[in-house]
């Protein structure tokens, strides 16, 4: 066991009364079966000796139980350690220690030599180690290692160039969704919060370099390790969101694969304006399960509270909740190098057998074609599942990137959902008072009609035709037109909806930021009549007005 410190460690950067994070993560190590603490090991810990630092199952269970009873969140239990989280006061009380923040020299992304803030205790000479000595935890734990800041060194902020036709973020995706022109008039998603419920979010140099805004990852039930995205899906899809709405605040919610509903509910509790989800399950017909109906109720509650909810329509799936009546159902359109558009045969299009007259999708984002829709080059956590899984084959079966370079080429309706969420964010910035139903209606009415191609053969291979259809819904999103119509709505009389029911009576109180009744009091007062708004909207949709002069 490491000895208690007798003197404070000092650094070049010094110590001081720096603020301590509200939530501190750590790895608590129960006593090792080999009899030597991992914190006392003088030699390198590698695979040949790792098992000697494992702990007995009973001891792990007892330690986890004690930690939980003390008030810690137990996030994950592994053979060698227990991942915990809690506030500073809890650590200080439980382990009879004092925690403080210390600045130490570090090298951050892009070789920036600066200082990082590390949490440390007064207990031991080993940086970041808390000793349980003298507390009831001494019987079960050999030490508690406080999590440290990590800095990314593996990937480039630049996507690897590849010769096959694909889209790059942010430029090509923004252009394909006609978002550039919205950005040029100052509508970039600023002030809009978008929650993404997915596999996590990794702070890739691509995001850092472009200065995108992301809040710390919120863990859904059963999820762990907020700094990593082991799959890569959430990290990649967030680049689609930022491409369309570069100034939104991303609220990443990391879901475990054992409770997506709990993660969705955690996103609702953040009171965002928009929630985007690029996942679902295949439900060709009813009846729905208890879990499905709980998710349906959660989606309904979010929308009733004024949150616009976007779900992917599916990649040959009869996707649920992508077919729920309250969501914006995101399908796929393929844009070729000559800018021609056709329905993606990778994306679903169907009439729901569960919800009468529900057509899927509502409208589309940019999605690739069969066999794998390798279409948009996206950043992710180097060496994660998707980085590895897409590598190694020639396009279109693979993406021709390295398995550990932090870039992979993929799409699916997973990409369409955050693109539409980005467009919804632009619309909300342009007119905050719009309800989710109005946001959806504007996105649909302004979409570009797609008249060629067929959707996934797994959902019937429906043809795209002139006007709304069951391959692409109303067509490909046109963010600029949607923003213009939204601006008009804020200049005219906004149609009022029925009174907004609570999220659920007495539960999950929402802040007023997302609700349709929460119109910004500073928003422009109506200056146009309803007839004038209708006439101007029609002109915008028909392409007869640019909208550049709208405030």
């Amino acid at each position: 066991m490491p000895i208690r410190k007798t003197t404070s460690r000092t650094t070049a950067a010094g110590t001081g009364a720096l603020p301590v994070p509200e939530r501190i993560y750590a790895q608590a190590s129960p006593h090792s079966v080999g009899g030597v603490s991992m914190f006392d090991a003088q030699d390198r810990i590698d695979s040949s000796v790792a098992a000697s630092f494992f702990s007995e199952g009973d001891l792990l269970l007892r330690a986890a139980s004690m930690l939980r009873e003390a008030g810690f969140d137990v996030l994950q239990v592994s053979p060698a350690s227990i991942n915990i989280a809690g506030p500073r006061e809890l650590y200080q009380q439980a382990f009879a220690t004092r925690l403080y923040v210390e600045q130490r020299p570090v090298i951050k992304e892009f070789g920036e030599e600066t200082v990082g803030e590390f949490i440390d205790s007064t207990d031991t000479e080993m940086p970041g180690l808390i000793s349980p000595r003298g507390t009831p935890f001494a019987d079960v734990l050999e030490g508690i290692a406080i999590e440290e800041p990590r800095y990314f060194m593996g990937a480039s902020m630049f996507a690897p160039p590849r010769s096959y036709w694909h889209m790059r973020v942010p430029g090509d995706v923004s252009l394909g969704c006609n978002a550039d022109r919205a950005h040029r008039v100052g509508v970039t998603g600023s002030g809009v919060r978008v929650a993404m419920v997915d596999t996590g979010w990794f702070r890739h140099p691509y995001f850092v370099g472009r200065g995108y805004h992301a809040a710390p990852v919120v863990l859904g039930p059963g999820a762990a390790n907020p700094l990593a995205d082991e799959v890569g899906h959430g990290t990649g899809e967030s680049a689609n969101l930022f491409a369309v709405a570069p100034d939104v605040e991303l609220l990443p919610v990391k879901m475990s694969f054992v409770n997506t509903i709990g993660a969705f509910n955690a996103a609702v509790a953040l009171a965002p304006h928009v929630i985007t989800c690029s996942w679902g399950s295949d439900k060709r017909k009813g009846p729905l399960t208890a879990a499905d109906q709980a998710l349906a109720a959660a989606v309904a509650a979010a929308v009733a509270a004024g949150i616009t909810v976007v779900f992917s329509a599916g990649n040959g799936h009869w996707s649920f909740p992508g077919q729920h009546p309250d969501v914006i159902s995101a399908g796929g359109v393929f844009m070729a190098p000559d800018e021609s558009l056709r329905a993606s045969d990778y994306a679903s299009g169907f009439m729901s057998a569960i919800y009468p007259e529900r057509r899927v999708p509502d409208l589309c984002g940019l999605v690739g074609m069969l066999p794998r829709a390798a279409y948009i080059m996206l950043p992710l956590d180097p060496g994660d599942q998707m980085d590895v899984g897409t590598a190694g084959s020639a396009h279109p079966d693979g993406d021709e990137t390295a398995p550990d370079d932090g870039w992979a080429c993929f799409s699916g309706t997973s990409a369409a959902a955050p693109q539409l969420a980005g467009a919804a964010a632009l619309v909300k910035q342009a007119c905050p008072a719009l309800t989710p139903a109005e946001v959806r209606a504007i996105l649909m009415s302004t979409a570009r009609d797609v008249t060629a191609g067929t959707c996934s053969p797994s959902t019937g291979g429906n043809a795209a035709v002139a006007g709304p259809d069951t391959a692409t819904g109303n067509g490909l999103v046109d963010a600029h037109k949607a923003v213009m119509v939204a601006k008009l709505r804020c200049l005219g009389p906004v149609p009022s909806d029925a009174p907004v029911p609570p999220v659920a009576q007495g539960i999950a109180p929402m802040s007023g930021t997302a609700g349709p009744g929460a119109a910004d009091p500073a928003a422009p007062r109506p200056r146009l009549s309803a007839r004038e708004v209708r006439e101007l909207e029609a002109m915008i949709i028909d392409g007869g007005i640019s909208g550049a002069g709208l405030p």
């Binding site: 269970l61 039930p221 997506t260 509910n265 690029s278 729905l288 208890a290 879990a291 009733a304 996707s319």
Partner: protein, 125 residues
């Protein structure tokens, strides 16, 4: 495949509506019909408290449900049955995704429509 007692797992608690109604497999639960299925606030509070007291971490209540998270051993103790992993990587009890409520205190179980594990989703990339 059985789970180690210390493995942290999660399930969703679905509450009955204030009128005792719960959605069946054919119900259309949308923003327009949600009020028909919304639980009473005091029922939510009582159920949350009951699961907290039994050692679960309780998530945000939204719609008609909230999550409970705890080691598998806690689930086994409270629900009186072991939990296993399914072939698809999800979780199930002896009767499938939905757990029996028989071992819960009556004052809690009467508030609930179901306690269910959530099947793993398909990522749509």
């Amino acid at each position: 495949m059985g789970l180690e007692d210390e493995e942290v797992i999660s399930a969703q608690v679905v509450l009955r509506s204030a009128g005792g109604k719960a959605p069946d497999g054919e119900s259309v639960v949308t923003a327009a019909t949600l009020a028909d299925f919304a639980p009473a606030p005091e029922a939510v509070a009582r159920a949350v408290e009951g699961f907290r007291e039994s050692g679960f971490q309780v998530g945000s209540a939204v719609g008609n449900s909230f999550s409970i998270t705890a080691p598998a051993g806690t689930f086994r103790r409270v629900f009186g049955a072991p939990v296993h992993r399914t072939e698809r990587g999800g979780l199930a009890g002896p009767d499938g995704e939905t757990l029996r409520l028989d071992d819960l205190p009556g004052e809690i179980s009467r508030l609930l429509a179901a306690v269910t594990f959530v099947p793993p989703p398909d990522l749509l990339a």
